[in-house]
Amino acid sequence: MGQTIIVQDLRKRYGDVHAVDGVSFSVEQGEFFGILGPNGAGKTTTLEIIEGLRQADAGTVEVLGMSPWPRNPRLLPKIGVQLQASSFFERLTAREQIRTFASLYGIPARKADEMLTVVGLEDKAGTQSEKLSGGQAQRLSIACALVHDPEVLFLDEPSASLDPQARRNLWDLLRSINSTGRTVVLTTHYLDEAESLCDRVAIMDHGKILELGPPAALVRGLDSATHISLATGVVAVAAAQELAGPDATVTDDGVSLTIATRTPAPVLAELAERNLLTGIQVRGATLEDVFLHLTGREYRA
């Protein structure tokens, strides 16, 4: 499989801020690629350089074998972009917006209307974009990015301000787009989103990529503890410590008692024996732990 995107040693400074500080990665054709990181990590800047909206100070970018900078009209029809800030024409209805965008790509109005249905906005078709809710505007923005069937799709925090249902629907939509062989690159704050959607994730902070790989591999490579939580009072802290052995850490925050252990199987067996499994929660390591491990900081979305 070919490389759809090749980024080498990308750098971008704003005054003293190194927004992107030596980023290199490549995305394969048909891959679902995620960039994960907290506010100000440099995700948007990286994405905008790849899309051709900004010029890098240094480094090279190649998308579908072409350079996105300066504005490359041969590349533009092949990429679809949803910007972080919704960008619509003033005072046009949802239907008028998407039809206008479609016309810029030579796509007929009928196809545009279909896309509105795909994102579940058909009943808002006659509403002016200023009067859509945050999540509806977000969905319209995604529909506008998809209307011309791009080969590569860039999404900057697509699930921001979506309700859980819309978020699930969006995930399904993105999976189905990806399954037709399109490459998808998204940025997100949500670890679960990255884990559930992405083939590979780049974890970014302070303009640098800290780790890159399939979410499962990142988590597995972490060798971190499994957390077993019970309601406080079910078992005393001392008893729990004894039951879990000396390697485990037991904490109680007054709501739940949590046992962190690298050998969860015997602990769970022991709890089962004492008939304490009701209401129990078992959580393996997540990207959050990967992030914590990499930066020594709690992940704050």
Binding site: L53, A85, F89, L92, E96, S103
Partner: protein
Amino acid sequence: MSPFRSLSRAMLLGFVRDKTSVFFTILFPLMFLVLFGALLTNQGVSKSKIIQVGPVAVLDQSQGLGEILDITRRNDLAAAQEEVRQGDFVAVVRQEGDRYQLFYTAADQVRAGTVRGVFGQLIGQANAAGVPQRFTLEAEQVEDKSLKVIQYVTPGLLSWAISMGATFGAAMTLVTWRQKKTLRRLRLAPVRTTTVVSARVGASVAIALVQTAIFLGVASLPMFGLRLSDYWWMCIPMVIAGTLVFMAIGMVAGGVAKTSEAAAGIANLIVLPMAFLSGTFFPLDAAPAWVRTVSNIFPMKHLNEGMLDVMVRGQGPASILPELGIILGFGLVIGLIAVLLFRWDDV
């Protein structure tokens, strides 16, 4: 739909749905027209009552003065002067050989001024020509003068309205599209910059032509009494050229400004003084010579002149070509500056 058509359509819809823009572009200049028309037209047609003592050649031989003068005949000069002093009449006039004497009241300065003006003109013409037939001719000119206000004001206000519409349209679109990231989104679509710009030009020209139609329609109502000359339709190329040059000015304002408030301020700062200095609202005849000289550097001056020429001065189609050329020249230069100042993004 082609990108050009769909973009122009998007811009026009955005304009029509913005009540404030529609008000300031269409209704606001129209209010000025109504105001000027009502104020000045009335003043023009209301008659001045004067007394004529004995035969007065310029009055006796002129026709059509009845439009502005209400003439009463008396024989006694002193009694007539008393009547003027009482305020029943504006002035007394008599002729003694080559001497015309005009006794007017200081109480009604405006009418007295009018009467003095009328006589000054009549006698001036009599002196210049000395042929009785000329009086009839001049009388008609005097009659025209009373209607002249709307004739003068309409082309001027129209060119002002078009300048405002084009400048604000271009400046606002540029700034809000940049702020709302619409420009970046367009940059990501395979549409040529020239298509985006010409769509905006198309929308602005359409708006300007609608402005023109409404304006001329209202001014031609009997109550305002605008009378267009034969080649008035030559104002259409003037309107289009004016739209282009003022859009370029708007693009400059929008290129410099960061917010729409700033853009509106800059646009006003350019267009309003220019309107006054170009003789849009008041003729520059009475202005100092240097003002008239300076006014030539303003495209609106040339727009005004061209509009006046074809709409009311009755000049032929070819007469606007120099003004048209000058306006388009301005447009080219300012347009180049606008291109240099153009930014897709805020930062």
